[in-house]
């Protein structure tokens, strides 16, 4: 009774119209034709900055090829790994790249289902980042096999040898999870891209470009029948991709959690890994978005609203991650297990690699707190620096989990100090270069803002006369 009597008063107190947003989600004033010109401008050709970045990335990718060549030709003895540190850089890089991918799916699928219209301006970039990050990630376990040409042994097929993969092991789970994630991300991305490729086809002047975009646009005409089915299919794909946001890194975390090792054997791992994944992914999205926004003058399409929303999500994920760190420490102390206590309460904070641990804490736990301040959430310099710190911190987190846990074996006679070789470093920095090559080619040749979605957003904003339509407040 009391609850119902309170309700009308609460309704009265609520303002009839929500306050005008401080930062509009879209403030481009020109026509749709000018908007198309602005968003497709990168397709005209790369400027000197694009070429400079492309050449640097290409050198990085060359380093990647050389490192892979050495690894495959000589074997993984060229890496720093040695028992008991059987997993080191390769798995750290793998988990880092996979995690980065998660933000793309979070933005494109999760936020689509939640009706967050502001995602329209950034979802294409984020999805592309997911696909390219997964392409890096997949290479590391493959190389770590030692004999990567036998990778198909992990796939169930009726082999003449009569053997099958053991599905009680986490490795076939990993293959299933990562392969599914990559395939679904690619399908989702391409299905969403088709109408924009049609725009690129119709917008291009050169015959070669018209034919190339025409082939990939599949003959899209933009009929209402096509739009209706397209919207439905994208919604279905978003619904299917959403569980992948939380499941893929959960499966990756099981590689660790089902092992007996102190530092790995923990039930908090799946949610802890998912949070860390989305956290690092958002940092990467911001890192890629800021230069693109400045270089192609997209401030009216990707506004302070987007930066503000992303910074808030980073802060949220940072707090969740800090919570996971605290729970991990508490459980290690509360378990009373001397090995657990040694790993968490001695080896990580005060052991051989303690410097790495404290840099990780500074990057992952301290840095995101700048986003409590509104000015920091929209400052390009602060966003860039904090995102870079978080990406470094998240790589170090995986290093701490993997190497620091492994290098102190149960038997102190097998203790080992791990040191990476140039091949390890070549693979890490080379994969960043290869990612850069793919991303720069994407920016140069593919419409990197979802034009049809942005135009629809604009149409709906106009129809609602600036009233908020499912947009988070500034």
């Amino acid at each position: 009774m009391t609850a119902t009597s309170v309700e009308p008063r609460a309704a009265e107190q609520r303002p009839a119209e929500p306050d005008a947003p401080e930062w509009p989600v879209f403030r481009f004033k020109g026509t749709d034709e000018q908007l198309t010109d602005l968003l497709l401008a990168p397709l005209r050709g790369g400027g000197p900055i694009w070429w400079a970045l492309f050449i640097v990335s290409l050198v990085g990718a060359g380093l990647f090829v050389v490192s892979m060549w050495v690894t495959v030709a000589k074997g993984i003895g060229t890496w720093g790994n040695n028992i008991p540190v059987a997993w080191a850089f390769a798995i750290t890089d793998f988990v880092w790249w996979i995690g980065i991918g998660h933000a793309g799916t979070f933005i494109s699928a999760f936020l689509l289902l939640l009706n967050q219209h502001w995602r329209a301006s950034i979802n294409r970039i984020a999805e592309a980042m997911t696909i390219f990050a997964l392409m890096q990630a997949g290479l590391f376990p493959l190389l770590h096999l030692g004999r990567p040409w036998f990778f198909y042994w992990l796939i169930p097929y009726p082999a003449t040898m009569g053997v099958w993969p053991n599905f009680k092991s986490a490795l076939p789970w990993d293959i299933a999870a990562v392969a599914t994630y990559f395939t679904v991300s690619l399908l989702f991305w391409y299905a969403g891209l088709v109408p924009d490729l049609a725009t690129a086809r119709d917008w291009s002047r050169s015959r070669a470009a018209r034919i190339a975009y025409g082939v990939f646009a599949l003959g899209w005409r933009g009929s209402s029948f096509e739009w209706r089915r397209h919207r439905l299919a994208l919604l279905l794909l978003a619904g299917l991709a959403t569980p992948l946001v939380v499941s893929v890194h959960s499966v990756v975390s099981l590689d660790f959690a089902i092992a007996q090792l102190p530092g790995w054997h923990s039930t908090i791992f799946p949610p802890y890994f998912v949070v860390g994944a989305i956290y690092s992914g958002f940092a990467m999205v911001i890192l890629l978005l800021l230069p693109l926004r400045a270089a192609y003058r997209l401030e009216d399409v990707i506004t302070e609203r987007h930066l503000n929303a992303m910074a808030k999500l980073i802060l949220t994920m940072g707090l969740l991650l800090a919570y996971a760190y605290v729970v991990e420490l508490f459980v290690a102390w509360y378990s009373g297990d001397p090995n657990e206590r040694f790993t968490f309460l001695h080896e990580r904070p005060f052991g051989t690699y303690s410097l790495i641990y404290w840099i990780m804490i500074a990057c992952n736990v301290v840095a995101p707190h700048v986003f409590w301040w509104k000015r920091c959430r929209t400052s390009v310099a602060v966003l860039f620096a904090a995102s870079l710190a978080i990406l470094v911190g998240m790589w170090l987190e995986r290093f701490v989990i993997i190497v620091v846990s492994l290098h102190r074996d149960f038997l102190s006679s097998s203790w080992h100090f791990y040191r990476p070789t140039w091949v390890d470093l070549g693979l890490l920095f080379g994969s960043i270069g290869f990612f850069g090559v793919l991303f720069l080619l994407f920016v140069r040749f593919v419409p990197f803002v979802a034009m049809s979605e942005v135009k629809r957003l604009r149409h709906e904003l106009a129809a609602n006369r600036g009233r908020e339509i499912g947009l988070p407040h500034a």
């Binding site: 034709e33 399908l187 086809r201 397209h230």
Partner: protein, 182 residues
């Protein structure tokens, strides 16, 4: 799909923006035209309402594909680990349901997503590189900023001259004839 078969071609009109397209499709619907298709650079929900009533079968197809994926995924694991090649690892059961759930889930999502993707383009009859609408002068702007309407010439209401006049009254920038398809 209203532009899949145009045995005697169609009559098409270009409109300035989404608002005039919405008005035009509504008026054409009211005037009794049945075989109308609209083209726009982005989805316009108000246009779809007069044009389509029937829900799509795609969600049913996707659901069934997901179900098939789940059964297939589980079956492969059961056959591989419990029937064809059972391994005794620390006495754990060969038929290990909790361990099999993860690949089963992945197979479900994979098959359902493939069905959604293939089903979409199968429903749209794409890829189809050529369509008579592409012959309409200025149609390339239908993916940039203009909106188009096309009416099948076999529509009972269509009379080449009167329909062109109707479209002009509704604010069409220009009206063109489109060649037949099939």
């Amino acid at each position: 799909m209203r532009d899949a078969h145009w045995p005697s071609g169609a009559i098409a009109a270009e409109f300035e923006d989404a608002e005039s397209l919405v008005r035009a499709t509504r008026e054409l619907d009211r005037a009794g035209y049945a075989k109308v298709e609209a083209y726009s650079p982005y989805p316009i929900l108000e246009v779809e309402r007069p044009l389509f009533a029937r829900p799509s079968r795609l969600p049913v197809v996707v659901f069934l594909a997901g179900l098939a994926g789940a059964v297939l995924g589980y079956w492969i694991q059961w056959y591989a680990n419990a029937v064809s090649y059972p391994l005794n690892i620390g006495g754990r059961p060969a038929h290990a349901t909790p361990a099999f759930i993860i690949p089963t889930f992945e197979a479900t999502v994979l098959c359902a997503s493939l069905a959604a993707f293939v089903g979409l383009f199968w429903l749209l009859r794409l890829p189809r590189p050529w369509h008579p609408m592409f012959e309409a002068d200025g149609f390339e702007r239908a993916s940039i900023d203009r909106c188009w309407v096309a009416i099948d010439m076999t529509d009972d209401r269509v009379d080449a001259r009167r329909t062109a006049a109707d479209l002009a009254v509704l604010g069409a920038r220009h009206v063109v004839r489109v060649p037949p398809l099939d």
